[in-house]
Symmetry: C2
Subunit: 437 residues, 2 copies
């Protein structure tokens, strides 16, 4: 399935941000708006794109190229009449399409999940699908939104001036080829908006509505909307599996940091490695034994734990996630965990004595910590499948936070014993829980 992306307009309302570049090239959290649309669609396995360009189209062409950089194929259609309504832009794509296509706006930001749904929905051959937001009151820019009236799953009315409405047009469509006839008809009658063509399909009962169901989307049309888009994308970085410490302490900080990092070319792997080096540094400080270096080491462990969230966040914001990257991060995290526990053990031993007690405690804490991560691979997979949730965790966020507390209160031995007891208990408990699942 091909996707047509409309990128012909000028975006005058966003002039303060777009710096004399065409609006689709406006950068938002590390990607231009149109890059984000293309990469979002790629998540739904769309591999061929038709981009309709107009205002400063050559700049867009130059920046996106043939798409090979994104692993997709991009062809361009020119619309020199870009100052006319957007129906004209859509019509320009007619010549290069011969089957149902997705229609997307280059300046909309939305949850990738919705495209997978749209792609998989069974539609009649002549049916057009419009994604709508059924909670129009929550929308930021209602004045400029295209209003929609939905009845029993079908769009019956559409237009900016609509008096009675119960939804908003999200600018995401699955279109039959017959849309072009409807557009031509509408243009012939003097209405050059895409909505005009859609209204004609609606009149024939051929425009189905599909609700966003609370997923995020926004038309980045104004500075307010731009900031809101940043906000929405940032909020989506919180994972449902995030633990308490991660959610309320680490994420708020790491996301702020990631919003800076995406503007650089630093890769997620480099961030993983930096967090690892920070942990090694922390381990060296902890191994010193005196309070001040131990305190500094403890705080550094927490800093590293926060930074450890950034690799995944940057990867998701820039669509750079990879299986290898996630695994690379996980393996480095385990070695970092081991180094920190060794640092704690050695530090206490240096400062306090020669008995094997602390070595035993450190040994058990290390075993527990690594077994926690080892058992989590299976446990999390089963839990998210069978119980639609994450089950009990004693995650790295919590362990790192405890290390910091232990350092602050200079209770390294108690900390090691606590880690040993809780981490091993959690691991053994998983053996029992999964037996029953």
């Amino acid at each position: 399935m091909k996707a047509v992306v409309i990128a012909a307009g000028m975006g005058s309302r966003l002039s303060s941000i777009r710096n004399n570049r065409p609006k689709p090239l406006t950068r938002l959290l590390g990607l231009s708006l149109i890059e984000r649309v293309i990469l979002t669609a790629r998540e739904a396995s769309i591999r061929e794109f038709v981009v309709v360009v107009g205002y400063l189209g050559s700049m867009i062409k130059e920046e996106l190229g043939d798409g090979s950089r994104y692993g997709v194929k991009i062809t361009y259609v020119e619309n020199h009449e870009w100052q006319r309504g957007n129906a004209v832009s859509v019509l320009k794509a007619r010549e290069v399409l011969n089957e149902r296509f997705l229609l997307l706006m280059s300046d909309h930001v939305f949850d990738p999940a919705v495209l997978k749904e749209v792609r998989d929905l069974p539609l009649d051959e002549e049916e057009c699908l419009m994604v709508v937001d059924g909670k129009p009151d929550d929308y930021i820019d209602m004045e400029d939104a295209t209003r929609v009236m939905v009845r029993e799953g079908r769009v019956v009315g559409i237009g900016k001036g609509l008096r009675e409405y119960n939804a908003v047009d999200c600018g995401i469509f699955s279109c039959p080829l017959s849309l072009f006839d409807a557009l031509q008809e509408s243009i012939g009658q003097g209405d050059e908006t895409l909505s005009g063509g859609m209204q004609r399909l609606a009149d024939r009962g051929r425009l189905r509505a599909h609700d966003m169901n609370g997923r995020f989307w926004i038309d980045v049309d104004t500075e307010d909307a731009y900031r809101k888009a940043e906000e929405l994308l940032s909020r989506a970085l919180v994972k449902p599996t995030d633990g308490f410490i991660s959610r309320y302490l680490n994420r708020p900080v790491s996301i702020r940091f990631s919003r800076l990092l995406v503007k650089t070319s630093i890769t997620p792997d480099a961030i993983s490695f930096s967090a690892f080096v920070l942990s090694l540094l922390a381990a060296m400080l902890l191994s010193h034994g005196d309070y001040l270096p131990v305190l500094a080491g403890g705080i550094l462990v927490q800093v590293s734990s926060i930074l450890d969230g950034c690799d995944g966040e940057v990867a998701r914001l820039k669509f750079q996630q990879s299986d290898y990257g996630a695994w690379f991060d996980a393996v480095l995290d385990r070695y970092a965990d081991a180094a920190v526990i060794l640092g704690l053990t050695y530090g206490w031993w240096i400062a306090n004595g020669d008995g094997p007690g602390v070595w035993l405690a450190g040994y058990l804490a290390l075993t527990g910590s690594l077994m926690n991560s080892y058992t989590a691979i299976k446990y999390d997979a089963v839990m998210s499948k069978e119980r639609n949730g994450q089950g009990w965790r004693f995650g790295r966020d919590t362990r790192s936070f405890l290390v910091m507390l232990g350092a602050v209160f200079n209770q390294l031995f108690c900390l090691l014993v606590a880690l040993a007891v809780v981490a091993n208990f959690v691991s053994v408990r998983r053996l029992c829980v999964l037996r029953r699942v």
Copy 2:
């Protein structure tokens, strides 16, 4: 797809082993022959069985029941004329079938992989498929085998007395309903063997041959064949991913032990747990520090490593494999590894001194050992998919063997250093290798 299993005959040639019970109930490595056929077919997702019984049929019915014990559905068809040829037995199943079915012999043992192939092969509606062994010279009981002549993928001749042949009938078929007409025709002409009916299909060009391709199979008809079947099933327990120590030292012993264990009701999980307890015992002996207990501990580690192979072997021989069982074993193995390394470390420390050197070495050995297992999950999965092999391993078999050697030569410190170096090297190497895959 249903499977018809012929279990009506008496099996006079196997009388010394079958103890006055019908031949299909002859026990072989923990399962009766017919149980093994049913469970083999279950591996290929066959869930419905029609068992044709005759000689002592009530005993078979009593033992297998309705199949719920095996997670399948079994219905029975009686053949009181079981002393006639086997074509008569097959014909009795006609009334309960209304589509293509698998036809299996209750006394054949074979590699489960072949049934998955047979199930998935696209066949013409009227085509019958016979699995054949294209290397007849290797077959143990050529005198009694049903010979087959294959030309260009089709069977052209079939029969025990065939002078010219290039294959042997393996007793595994995928049959269209029209087989029944062919059988009736053959019986009418005085030939009551299944081969007679098959020959009629062959004459019409409707009997396709599918080669075993070196996979194991055997008709358990004689005492020799019975022993050979045990041999073949045992040999199949060696995994392609087995390391050197496992393949040439552990497996030969563990398989022998598993062949005894399958005759008991001891579960694979119980074996895993026993091996774990043995490792804990070994760790306690190692931690003593004196040579004799350390030696005993080292040997016990190797014994436990051998026993650790039996859980999987028994599970595979009795079709009791489970995801949970494999994971339970893996987690216990990790804790056993940790206990043994702690035992070694503590033992050397007790015997030789108070410096942190041995604790550091033990610490790094523990980290390396657990990280070896942690990284193997991903590494083995990628390697078996991408490179059709296992890649480099420093597996538990090798580590346990090294522990034994270290104990025998009383070089616990060197051993810990060696484990620390090699195990961590292997783990870090995987980070680099997978980056390039």
